[in-house]
């Protein structure tokens, strides 16, 4: 049995409380002391057991937290609507990776700057954008989580394997770091640009078209969360781009090579007028180009 002093050192070693130097010194010592090495092996099992047990506890704590369901039934009605093109999938914004790379890689040193202009970049490949949320420490943490085998995880491995096989593990992303509104209120389109630049794109909006109305010929309105387009829209394909960035949401209609901003708070029909802001248009074109 190791002496008490060693025991304390060992404990600090096991609980990651040693500095890099102390750590390597201790490891060196391990190589020359088989008895200590044996003890470490034993203690590692023990500590690993404690960690697993705690992880399981936390998992069950989280599992017991009720999560409010998303407004149900949308997707089935969506399919019925049919005459619109759903724009799904995340769009990897260069900005996101830009942020993550810079903030998260280096133990998150710099606060997220308020960016009004973004470099135009294409989504990066997974190897390149291997976002490291922190230094190797986090990696370690991540590995810890990975190595344990939650009961559920093993059950569900088989089913989605085929899908995963055909798909490269490429994570598309959006930037979630936009929870609070910007300080200064700028022009509407400019604001939307901000949101869009950081958001990811999806579409879960139900759309209805109405070409029977005499008064509204190229208008839109949001009714109970549903988008109603007035005019002869059926004949042509249109796309709804929905940008979600935390609590902010921006909806854009693409129709006949024009983009239209839709105000989700509009409860009375409003005329559709194309977007003029060049920068915003460019961004939107980028997004549409990125759809797979």
């Amino acid at each position: 049995m190791a002496v008490e002093r060693d025991f304390e050192l060992l404990d600090d070693y096991l609980s990651n409380r040693l500095s890099g130097e102390e750590r390597s010194a201790f490891e060196k010592k391990l190589d020359t002391d088989p008895e200590l090495k044996q003890e470490v092996k034993f203690q590692q099992d023990l500590v690993e057991g404690l960690r697993k047990a705690r992880m399981a506890e936390l998992k069950s704590l989280l599992n017991n937290i009720p999560i409010a369901p998303v407004q149900g039934g949308q997707s089935s009605t969506l399919l019925k609507t049919g005459s619109w093109v759903a724009v799904t999938g995340l769009v990897a914004t260069a900005l996101y990776f830009y942020f993550v790379k810079n903030e998260a890689t280096e133990e998150i040193v710099t606060p997220a700057p308020v960016v009004t202009e973004q470099p135009e970049r294409q989504p990066v490949s997974p190897e390149e954008n291997e976002t490291k949320p922190a230094t190797s420490e986090t990696k370690e943490g991540v590995d810890k989580v990975e190595t344990k085998e939650p009961a559920k995880a093993s059950d569900k491995v088989t089913e989605p394997v085929e899908r995963a096989e055909s798909k490269k593990p490429k994570i598309k992303a959006y930037d979630p770091s936009t929870e609070e509104p910007e300080g200064a209120v700028e022009k509407y389109e400019r604001e939307q640009f901000e949101i869009i630049s950081r958001a990811f794109v999806t579409s879960s909006i139900e759309v209805e078209t109405d070409n029977t109305d005499k008064k509204y010929t190229f208008h839109y309105v949001f009714k109970n969360g549903k988008l109603v387009l007035y005019g002869g829209f059926e004949k042509h394909l249109y796309e709804i781009l929905e940008f979600i960035s935390d609590d902010k949401r921006t909806v854009v209609l693409f129709y006949k090579s024009n983009y239209y901003l839709l105000d989700v708070n509009k409860s009375t029909p409003a005329v559709l007028s194309p977007i003029h802001d060049k920068k915003l248009l460019k961004k939107l074109q980028e997004y549409r180009g990125n759809q797979e």
Partner: protein
Amino acid sequence: MNEKEIFERICRGDEKSLEFLYKKYYRMMTKMVITNSGTEEEARDIYQDALIVFWQKATSGKLVMTAKISTYIYSICQNLWRKELDRKKRLSNEEKDLPVAQDTESEERNKIVAQCIEQLGETCKKVLMYYYFEEMSMQDIADKLGFANTDTAKTKKYKCKKKLDELIKTQYSERDFLD
């Protein structure tokens, strides 16, 4: 609660704040997995794991937050999900050729450890978990468990650890795991 407040509470091991965060970002984080060919269940699993990684980093005092919490958690989610996709891919490729070697002895050991942990009293368990998993400071452990001071926490930890050592060693020697 603002970001800073939440983070500070998390650092002190406040589980209520963890619950709060969990709810707050649930949709945002699970969406990433779901839109990247994951099932809802996988998404939840990844998100929970990511949140626990975040929690562990925060409680151990190794995390200096200057970016938003969500950014941080999100990137962990991404990493975990990428790894999971890789793992599944490997699994589907190698499944037939390489049966996973079963290390029954180490499994047996793990089982014993888990059982012995269960035999500890609630406080003992908590002290050790906070010390080895959360890697909390003795001060935080004392605060959280209502000990008079850090010395009490230290003693408690020492005794509990000894007890667990003994429990496990007894079991091991019964099964000849100790050389």
